[in-house]
Amino acid sequence: MLTIYGTLRSRTTRAVWTAEELGLPYRREKVAFAASVADPLAEDAPLNTASPAFLRVNPMGQLPALEDDGLCLGESLAICFYMARKAGGPVAPASVAEEAEMLQWAFLAASTIEPQAIEILYTFMGGQADTEGGKARIAAAADKLQRPFRRLDTHLESQDWLVGNRFTVADIVMEETVRYVAAAPGLIESFPALKRWYDRCQARPAFQAMWAMRNAE
């Protein structure tokens, strides 16, 4: 059976949410970040990103990873699209044109949004959001997010979802990237159509179920 490796305190959330929306049967193997394990290589250590058994699945040692019938994949966005193609249905691309459009959004998310979003998230997680340096990093990242957020906002003014007038894997990967910005007050809110779409995504039962699992983990 298709296996998703990772903890829900990582980009594994997007893979699990995608599998749930697709109704794709999968098994999840919990993998902790090595940094959160006292002695990651100890014999009784829980499976973690430094475990040789995990590195055989993903030599990058990153989460999530996927294993399906001998195929091992890393990169969360590639994993989401792989599962969508495998399962088909309304959440997956319905044509090559749709797939191209969805990939366009995914690469925009990966190249333009995620690095800035992670910068903001880590600044908050590191408790530096109120320091001078932290404020400057957040402001610089927020500045770089203006262009892609404006593009998304404009696009979403006239439609509820990114592609095909229905909820798809493109919405999942974009929301999961935008979500890392949520720690910065007012940033998403300053783009009203983007904010309405963001709330629509998170109102999905499969998101709610994934989020409950995450919070329990």
Binding site: P59, L71, Y82, V96, E99, E101, F107, L108, A110, R147
Partner: protein
Amino acid sequence: MTAPAAAITLYGNLRSRAMRPLWLLREMGVPFEFVPVIQAYRLADPSAPGAPFNTADPAFRALNTQGQVPILRDGTQVLTESMAITLHLARTRGGPLAPANAAEDGEALQWGFVAISALEAPSLDILMTCDAGRQDTPDGQTVLATASAALMRPLARIEQHLQGRDWLMGGRFTVADIMVEECLRYAQPHPPALAPFPMVRAWLERCQSRPIFRTLMQEREAETL
């Protein structure tokens, strides 16, 4: 999925990310039209009369408001994002450079995202530092050191993957090699970044020895816009 026979128009230039789909199209032998567009920031006055067709031109902006290159027009569809464009062309036009099955589809996507999320940004930092002649300044040295450090993990992973392999997937040159090479090429002006990775360097040399790549680099040198 079936290949549409729609006309392909690619907008960009040889000193831009348009190289990715351009190289692929040439390797695939697919007919297409190439419309030279220069980045507006490379021009002193992009709106001057007689200025070359550039990304600030209203006619270009009408295609896509982002004003970035490359842009692909495939029939009636207009696409941005060089990697999405490149993967789309491979998947729709097929042939040996394209993924051959579902597993390769997944692998090609994985390499595309490795290139974008782990390789492109530090490699571009290296390129811009060296292009600006700042590699010997204290700031430049810091940028080069930070970028080289950021490349260590993904390059170690590719180095390991290339043990016993000539190409990234399927035992043949594919769209995956083009996407990764085109990002790593930006790191080459700073050889120490690649020094610890002999398999990666040998693979880069294999990619860059391809006749079509060499021809494109000659055209790039000769390009006037």
